[in-house]
């Protein structure tokens, strides 16, 4: 039953709630990589070791509550259908690698889906906290608590000099990857993004379009994360990322203001054209849907469009991915059918908004 809730009740809290600075920052994520001392790492561990680790997770973490309000359910990848796995990937609750290449992989999910703990991915344990809006510090604190709780149940691979030992040397030390997902249409439309990305890279941070490649990020959504995990404290890593993110937020806000001043009617036209397409299209590809959703969200943020919830971009970017569309349709769909389904889902979702008032 609970699995059905996870998959059918498609919207996770980070998609539906508004966090701080949510006009620009869609979500904040903290990931901690940990390994258990006694076992070989998942790339070469034996089947027996893998099963032992899953049992350890099931009995130690899956059966006990973390707190009064939070407990976890363990899902093993082997027991899931391909579509179900894909849905978990599209919701960013498990990595594509775990879903596709980890026969002994599992995930512990919290009820509200803000916390997921991947078991037997590249590392034995990967703790993830995913919060709406800009809440990196809050997510780091929560991830730290989960980390302490897990450490009570096992012995971590830790070295005084190198810190938390991970399978890949790019994660050693803190094992921390902090990232934010940002919607930056202003910087893209004013073409500032191409200058900003190299500058961010020089600061030791990584910028990626999460649904596309490089500067042609689908839906103008970018993910910014730390590269360095060794030699800095967790707090400093998060603080450094935050200071850059805050500057980008300022730049994005000024870009939006400038756009409204210089091309108000053109911008309004763009927004309403996209709204028109989303409300009326019968067939729509991912790329066009992403572009229109980005315009619509910008229109909501700038006040051109009222009565539509801001979280529509977060939500529909996820819900119009192939896995979700097939889940929604109740069976496999070919690409043409997906485009039809996608258009239908978006129209229905917008009608819900219009009736909501």
């Amino acid at each position: 039953m609970s699995l059905e809730r996870f998959l059918k009740n498609a919207v996770s809290s980070w998609m539906s709630e508004e966090g701080p600075d949510s006009d620009i920052v869609l979500s904040s994520r903290i990931r901690l990589a940990r390994n258990l001392k006694e076992y070989k790492f998942p790339i070469i561990f034996s089947r027996d070791e893998a099963v032992e680790i899953i049992n350890w997770a099931r009995n130690g973490l899956g059966s006990e509550s973390f707190s009064d309000t939070c407990s976890f359910e363990l899902l093993t990848m082997n027991d899931l259908k391909p579509i179900e796995k894909r849905v978990l990937v599209e919701k960013h609750l498990v990595s594509p690698n775990l879903a596709e290449n980890a026969p002994y992989g599992a995930v512990l999910l919290s009820d509200n889906e803000e916390i997921s703990v991947m078991i037997n991915e590249e590392d034995h344990i990967r703790i993830q906290c995913l919060y709406p809006g800009l809440q990196l510090k809050e997510a780091l604190i929560m991830a730290g608590k989960i980390d302490d709780w897990i450490e009570e149940k096992g012995v971590y691979a830790f070295d005084e000099e190198r810190g938390y030992l991970t399978s890949c040397p790019t994660n050693v030390g803190t094992g921390l990857r902090a990232s934010v997902m940002m919607h930056l249409p202003g910087l893209v439309l004013t073409r500032q993004i191409n200058r900003i990305i190299p500058a961010i890279n020089q600061l030791g941070l990584v910028v990626r379009g999460i649904y596309g490649e490089g500067s042609e990020a689908l839906g103008n959504i970018f993910q910014i994360s730390n590269q360095i995990t060794l030699g800095k404290s967790e707090e400093d890593i998060v603080e450094d990322l935050l200071s850059v993110v805050e500057q980008i937020i300022d730049r994005e806000r000024s870009a939006r203001e400038a756009l409204v001043k210089t091309s108000d009617i053109q911008l309004e036209d763009r927004v309403f054209r996209s709204y028109g397409i989303l409300s009326n299209a019968r067939v729509i590809e991912t790329k066009e849907a992403a572009k229109c959703l980005s315009d619509l969200r910008l229109g909501i943020d700038l006040g051109y469009i009222k009565n539509i919830s801001k979280t529509i971009l977060n939500e529909l970017m996820i819900l119009t991915q192939p896995g979700f569309l097939q889940q929604y349709a109740g069976g496999p769909l070919n690409p043409d059918e997906r485009d039809i389904r996608r258009a239908a889902l978006i129209r229905e979702r917008l009608i819900l908004e219009e009736n909501r008032e």
Binding site: K37, Y164, L165, C168, E213
Partner: protein
């Protein structure tokens, strides 16, 4: 849009490749993309992965011998726990177990420096259990810094308090070592 490869099925994957500033677009259907091994876009690993990059990084620069010598030299290094040899690590860019960090210790410093902006020592969180008395030692280091500062600023009363605290903690560390042995 139709897939460029089979010219039958509709293209669902659209790549933009930028090679030396030259941009080219590729449009494939699911089936052909999978055959071409480009399906990794769905994996989030877009074309080539961190492994490929890391492999190059790990291979380069640590030795000035000819590559043949370097390989034989490194082959002697085999992790006692997971039996991984250094060359394997270079190829896949992943360690086999936590012992590998000790086994390949001497080769790792330049690698870590390059990956982490010159850093090689962890300064972040220390786990309660696995950390043992590392956090105590770090706390003592911090207190000693404070002590130095207080003396410089002639806050002798504060300095005396810190000194007592340092002594107490040092005693605790020593007791711990006698009891449980040093790991």
């Amino acid at each position: 849009m139709i897939c460029e490869q089979c010219n039958e099925r509709p293209a669902t994957l659209h790549f933009t490749k930028v090679v030396n500033g030259e941009k080219s677009e590729v449009h494939l259907c699911d089936t052909c993309a999978q055959e071409k091994g480009q399906m990794s876009l769905f994996n989030g690993n877009a074309g080539f992965s961190i492994n490929d990059l890391l492999g190059g990084l790990l291979n380069g620069g640590t030795f000035h011998h000819s590559s043949h010598n370097a390989v034989t030299h490194r082959e002697e290094l085999r992790c006692p726990k997971c039996h991984m040899i250094y060359q394997q690590f270079v190829e896949i860019g992943r360690f086999g177990c936590s012992e590998c960090y000790k086994t390949f210790k001497n080769h790792l410093v330049p690698v870590l420096k390059r990956l982490h902006s010159g850093n090689i020592v962890h300064t972040g969180k220390i786990p309660k259990k696995a950390g043992g008395n590392i956090s105590l030692k770090k706390r003592i280091e911090e207190l000693k810094q404070d002590l130095k500062q207080s003396i410089e600023q002639e806050e002798f009363e504060r300095a005396a308090n810190i000194r007592d605290e340092v002594r107490a903690l040092e005693k605790e560390v020593n007791n711990g070592q006698e009891g449980g042995g040093q790991s």
